[in-house]
């Protein structure tokens, strides 16, 4: 039963610290997405990769966030420096084909920045 995995599942950190979240997409999937979910804003797209190339990161605060895919089995989302307003659940999703096709979500990383 192939699944998207994310680590860590929970992260509590202090303002100003660097946070790195990792995602392993489903083997064979060529699209990877990072989303942030909050009660106020709902689910927001932060970054979108296809075949490891970034296609869309317009939803990501560029001054502190960065997303990469060092290889086909690993996607990372970094926040440096972290701020309390970054507290949210961060989801990774992967899919096959176009971005408009079915997406398979990981369990999320719940980030709390104090």
């Amino acid at each position: 039963d192939a699944r998207v995995t994310q680590t860590p599942r929970h992260k509590v950190t202090e303002m100003g610290q660097e946070v790195t979240m990792r995602c392993q997409p489903i083997l064979g999937h060529n699209t990877v997405f990072w989303y942030r979910q909050t009660m106020m804003q709902g689910l927001e797209l932060l970054a979108y990769f296809r075949n490891r190339a970034p296609l869309d990161d317009s939803g990501m605060p560029k001054d502190r966030f960065s997303a990469e895919m060092p290889d086909a089995t690993l996607a990372t989302l970094k926040i440096q420096p972290s701020e309390p307003r970054d507290s949210a659940v961060y989801f990774c999703a992967s899919g096959r084909g176009a971005g408009r096709d079915t997406q398979y979500f990981g369990p999320g990383t719940r980030l709390t920045v104090l």
Binding site: V4, G42, Y48, D56, R100, P107
Partner: protein
């Protein structure tokens, strides 16, 4: 702003009853998808309906799409306690996503509670 907007925001019904949720969107789409999210979990894909389809079934789920009204509905028949979750619609709206990339835009969801 959100492309898809679900209605109602919250819905509470008795077990065994049918639950209907609606989604409205703003621009033309290639497909519309419904996802479920249980508390503390990731989203799970339920069903995809293409713009040239009007109705689709999957088990106890029935989805309709009216492109002239830019709306969709999700019907869950004979609801069960395990159906308690948030339900999201997602649309692709080519040209709507930033940078022209063909991603999905999610609504804020309908929170469904099934009372035993």
């Amino acid at each position: 702003s959100q492309q898809g907007e679900e209605d109602p925001q919250a819905l509470s019904i008795q077990e065994g009853e049918n639950a209907t949720m609606n989604c409205s969107y703003k621009t033309s789409i290639n497909n519309l998808q419904w996802y479920r999210q249980n508390s503390g979990r990731g989203l799970v894909h339920l069903i995809l309906i293409r713009s040239n389809e009007r109705e689709k079934h999957s088990g106890r789920l029935r989805v309709t799409l009216d492109t002239s009204k830019k709306s969709s509905s999700l019907l869950i028949t004979a609801s069960r306690a395990a159906d308690t979750a948030s339900y999201f619609c997602a649309t692709d709206a080519v040209g709507y996503s930033g940078g022209g990339a063909d991603g999905l835009t999610f609504g804020k969801g309908t929170h469904l509670i099934i009372q035993p």
